[in-house]
């Protein structure tokens, strides 16, 4: 019981400290802005640890964070091939193919107004559907290995990427296009020098949405069948044996991967669309 009281005390103390930081006079400092969420995250983990230990929650229901960290480092040799299988092969392969083909399709769709008026509503419709459901079909077609996961990812990222890119390619003003015409610019020159750069914020928006979808697709597709490695496979088998510390370790890997992937695309966006108002400091 002492541990539970300690947990409550830690929670109140940390919340009060955060309140003091957030409402104090240093609240606009970058370091404070970073510190407050980190303190909150650390508090959640400490409270979790104390409550699980204090109430003696069985590890098959909720393992304490210390056990999860132990499982993460202890099974690094298992988790690394899982990560390579799911992220480097399945998710990343599908991401590149899906986003690339959506980009090319978008240029085609943009060129013909008929296609734009026909494909865009269909694309918007498809973007809202539970496309994860195609996973069992694609696993049946492309086998258990990473190719089927990449195929699921392609289908999942294609439509959000298409819709965003087409919207972006239309985001130039009549004035800008007229200027290009007075320069005697050809279609391709206008495309590469004006409309493509102008579309970049939209394209990156699509790319960022697609990062999460890619990981979801690759992991969920593994629930429908996979070789004996991969993050989704590890989750479903570890759940089967009630090795929840391992499941949480895999989720830590997936979370770190997702955040890093998103962060990498966001970094690229900052480098390439530095001129856009939303990126200016």
């Amino acid at each position: 019981m002492i541990l539970v009281f300690a947990a409550v005390a830690v929670w109140i103390g940390a919340w009060a400290f955060n309140g003091w930081l957030a409402n104090g006079r240093f609240s606009d400092l970058a370091s404070v802005r970073l510190a407050v969420p980190l303190i909150f995250g650390a508090t959640v983990i400490v409270v979790w640890e104390l409550i699980v230990r204090g109430l003696q929650v069985p590890p098959v229901i909720l393992p304490p964070p210390s056990t999860i960290v132990g499982a993460f480092f202890g099974n690094f040799g298992v988790l690394w091939p899982d990560f390579v299988q799911t992220f480097a092969k399945g998710a990343l392969g599908g991401y590149v193919i899906g986003c690339g083909s959506a980009l090319l399709t978008a240029i085609l769709v943009d060129r013909y107004d008929f296609l734009r008026r026909g494909l865009l509503p269909v694309g918007n419709f498809m973007a809202a559907l539970p496309i994860v459901g195609t996973a069992p079909i694609l696993v049946m077609w492309f086998g258990f290995d990473w190719q089927s996961k990449a195929a699921v990812v392609v289908v999942m990222v294609f439509f959000p990427m298409l819709v965003n890119t087409v919207a972006g390619l239309r985001d130039t003003s009549a004035m800008q296009r007229d200027l290009m015409r007075t320069y005697g610019a050809s279609y391709w020159q206008t495309l590469f020098k004006l409309r493509f750069p102008a579309a970049l914020p939209f394209i990156f928006n699509g790319l960022k949405i697609a990062t999460t979808l890619a990981l979801i697709g690759a992991i969920v597709a593994e629930f429908f069948g996979s070789p004996t490695r991969g993050l989704g496979f590890r989750i479903s088998t570890s759940v089967g044996t009630l090795a929840l510390d391992m499941v949480w370790a895999v989720i830590v890997v997936a979370a770190l991967t997702g955040t890093a992937f998103y962060g990498a695309v966001a970094w690229l966006e900052r480098r390439m669309t530095f001129w856009h108002p939303s990126q200016r400091k």
Binding site: A22, L119, A128, V132, P136, T212
Partner: protein, 315 residues
């Protein structure tokens, strides 16, 4: 009408492509069946054909493709086969089937309506819990700077991680403490719809600009008054935009939540279809899920339209 033409053309093109694709996709099984029926197929024997390119097989056996669109358990069933299965497992099963609602008084456990209603129940309950909590947290975030600075970065980060990976564990853990049925799936649906609603709602509650908040200050409006009269109405368009994302995510959550425990639902139906090679059943379940998602999103769009018109927002 002018807008409908291109859409119909695209849909027709997709269906045509589907039919064309069914020929090379099913060629192996079609030729095996034709050979059994006595036709001369080139090259002979299923083993010899296994590693031959599908398109080459189509070209060399152009006379024996008649079964491509009527194979049972085809790799890619033709659209009309899927539609037939869809009809058979909804209307037919319920109205004329032995287990159907007309003859037995309860939904047949082989019909998509039964499985769909299981999934729909979990989706709706989860969506209501998730979006409700999401709105509450957003209100808290907007009014408490401590909460804003502590929680908001985590809500944003959570959008970048595949939280659906938690689904199998939640099902099994809740099962082991005695909670089963609709609730575990609803929990998954709830947390999948929770974060998009939080992020969208915070954006919406913050959307009134300085001019508007200043005006309320000159009226000496209290904080609750500013909330009810300015912030909440201003957030409605943002709320609906994120509710649409939220309900689609809820449905995915419910379907994924049905994978580990095979107790009915569209997810269980899909997994069953993939285990037993019942591709028509699989496609029918997929189309049913897609139709359900479309209807749910459309429903929220309809409520959005009504609400915005009542609020006087010109559309």
């Amino acid at each position: 009408m002018k807008a409908l033409g291109p859409i119909l053309a695209v849909v027709a093109a997709i269906i045509a492509l589907w039919y064309v694709a069914a020929v090379p996709m099913n060629i192996q099984e079609v030729l095996t069946q034709a050979e059994r029926a006595g036709a001369v197929v080139e090259p002979e024997g299923a083993m010899n054909r296994r590693d031959v390119n599908r398109f080459a097989l189509v070209l060399r056996n152009a006379d024996h493709l008649g079964e491509s669109w009527s194979m049972e358990r085809a790799r890619l069933p033709a659209p009309h086969q899927v539609v037939k299965e869809l009809w058979a497992s909804t209307w037919d099963e319920e109205v004329s089937g032995r287990r159907g609602i007309v003859k037995s008084g309860s939904l047949s456990n082989r019909s998509l309506i039964y499985h769909g209603s299981i999934t729909l129940g979990a989706t709706i309950v989860g969506f209501l819990i998730g979006s409700g909590l999401g709105i509450l947290l957003a209100v808290g975030i907007v009014h408490s700077k401590t909460m804003d600075m502590s929680v908001m970065p985590w809500a944003i980060v959570s959008q970048t991680i595949p939280i659906v990976a938690l689904a199998p564990m939640i099902i099994v853990v809740l099962y082991s403490i005695g909670v089963e049925g609709l609730l575990p799936k609803a929990v998954i649906s709830a947390y999948l719809s929770f974060f998009p609603v939080v992020v969208g709602m915070v954006k919406g509650l913050r959307s009134p600009d300085a001019m508007q908040t200043d005006l309320l200050r000159t009226y000496n409006a209290s904080k609750p008054q500013a909330f009810w009269m300015l912030r909440l109405p201003a957030s409605v368009p943002y709320l609906f935009a994120s509710l649409k994302i939220g309900i689609a995510a809820s449905l995915v959550g419910a379907i994924v939540g049905e994978l580990p425990v095979q107790r009915g639902g569209l997810g269980a139906r899909m997994l069953g279809g993939s285990y037993y090679g019942q591709t028509e059943q699989l496609w029918a379940a997929l189309l049913f899920a897609a139709a359900m998602a479309a209807i749910l999103v459309w429903l929220i769009g309809w409520i959005e339209g009504k609400t915005l018109r009542r609020m006087g927002v010109t559309q």
